[in-house]
Symmetry: C2
Subunit: 213 residues, 2 copies
């Protein structure tokens, strides 16, 4: 199979979200034009993205919403349940713990760790916050595959090294730093300030400032 | 000036972050190779990204860290202070309010709104949470240009319409929904579940599952 770019995967996730909404609304077929409008892209882009994974839809009839949902869930690895650990029970950790769309898509936070004795032992919706001393034992007991890292920058690499050594293969990182991991581990860093800078760049251009050399 | 892609802008932000770290560490020059290694890309990509904005660096001598910081801050619209409003004082709002890198890059949250009477009037680091009834008045008084939207999906479009009508031109959206805005308004949606699906996709591939049709 061809290598698929990150923006393509992002669009597939977005199509899936839109299709789930259509399915909830009782809609059974959708055209590439309609999907394109809803996702802010072109019909040609939609067809190209979906064609990467085989033949979908019937010419002139559009796509079956339910069939496309099933195929996209398969492509994105969402046909199964993923066991997730949250490392860092601070403000960002708390916000992520309550994020409903994780569960909706099959990502279940089944362990929470913190190094602060005041937080260890707290019950978060029935899940006990564990001391990070217990990380290796708990990750293994609960067969955790993905970790969300919401610790300060200075602690992030050490935490990630321990996660990787315990068999975690996917990391969603909220510490604004580059992490080093082996090739068979996938890291995605979410950096809110970086998104904000995309806004300031665009606004500066829109306002007609030149900025270019 | 050429149109610059979102991934390029993301890399420029990342280079700036790495350069600020180098500057803090007292480093005065950096090569495109070094910058590439630190940012997980190639030296050719670094040179290509920077060349979009004019001539930087001297062949064989690398880039002056401080000069590059100045130029990147100018390109990204970070030479100034941005006044930001936060709409939604829930868990995600609270996490974003405490996010230090916003201030470090010049984004100052100067208004917080919520519709919940229990939250209105609370003091967040000295800033009073305002009722969303007061949104138009406060946005105007405080010359807000960027808003962070952290409200439930069902409320998001109505909030955004009011923000846009009050002159807000940039929106960082945390509600997992597509928002409609006029052409001169920039929206960036941060969707944590979407990032998570990028992980499950990659892990499913790594594990050798086919998934393709």
């Amino acid at each position: 199979m061809k290598k698929v770019s990150e923006p393509t995967i992002g669009r597939l996730s977005l199509y899936l979200r839109l299709l789930l909404d259509l399915s909830d609304a009782g809609v059974s077929t959708v055209s590439s034009e309609d999907l394109a409008t809803r996702s802010g892209t072109t019909a040609a882009q939609v067809r190209k993205d979906l064609s990467l994974f085989g033949t979908f839809g019937k010419r002139g009839l559009g796509y079956s919403v339910n069939e496309l949902v099933t195929r996209l869930r398969s492509i994105l690895g969402l046909e199964r349940r993923w066991s997730v650990a949250l490392v860092g029970a601070g403000r960002i950790g708390a916000a992520l713990f309550g994020y409903e769309n994780f569960r909706r898509q099959g990502f279940y936070i089944e362990a929470v760790f913190d190094s602060d004795p005041a937080k260890v032992g707290q019950s978060w919706s029935g899940l006990v916050v564990e001391s990070d001393d217990r990380m290796e034992a708990v990750l293994s007991e609960r067969s955790i595959e993905i970790a969300v890292v919401a610790v300060p920058v200075r602690a992030a690499q050490a935490v990630v090294d321990r996660l990787v050594a315990s068999g975690v293969r996917g990391i969603l990182n909220f510490a604004p730093t580059q992490l080093e991991v082996p090739e068979d581990v996938v890291v995605k860093t979410v950096d809110m300030a970086l998104e904000m800078e995309g806004l300031s760049y665009a606004l500066t251009r829109l306002n007609g400032a030149s900025g270019a050399a």
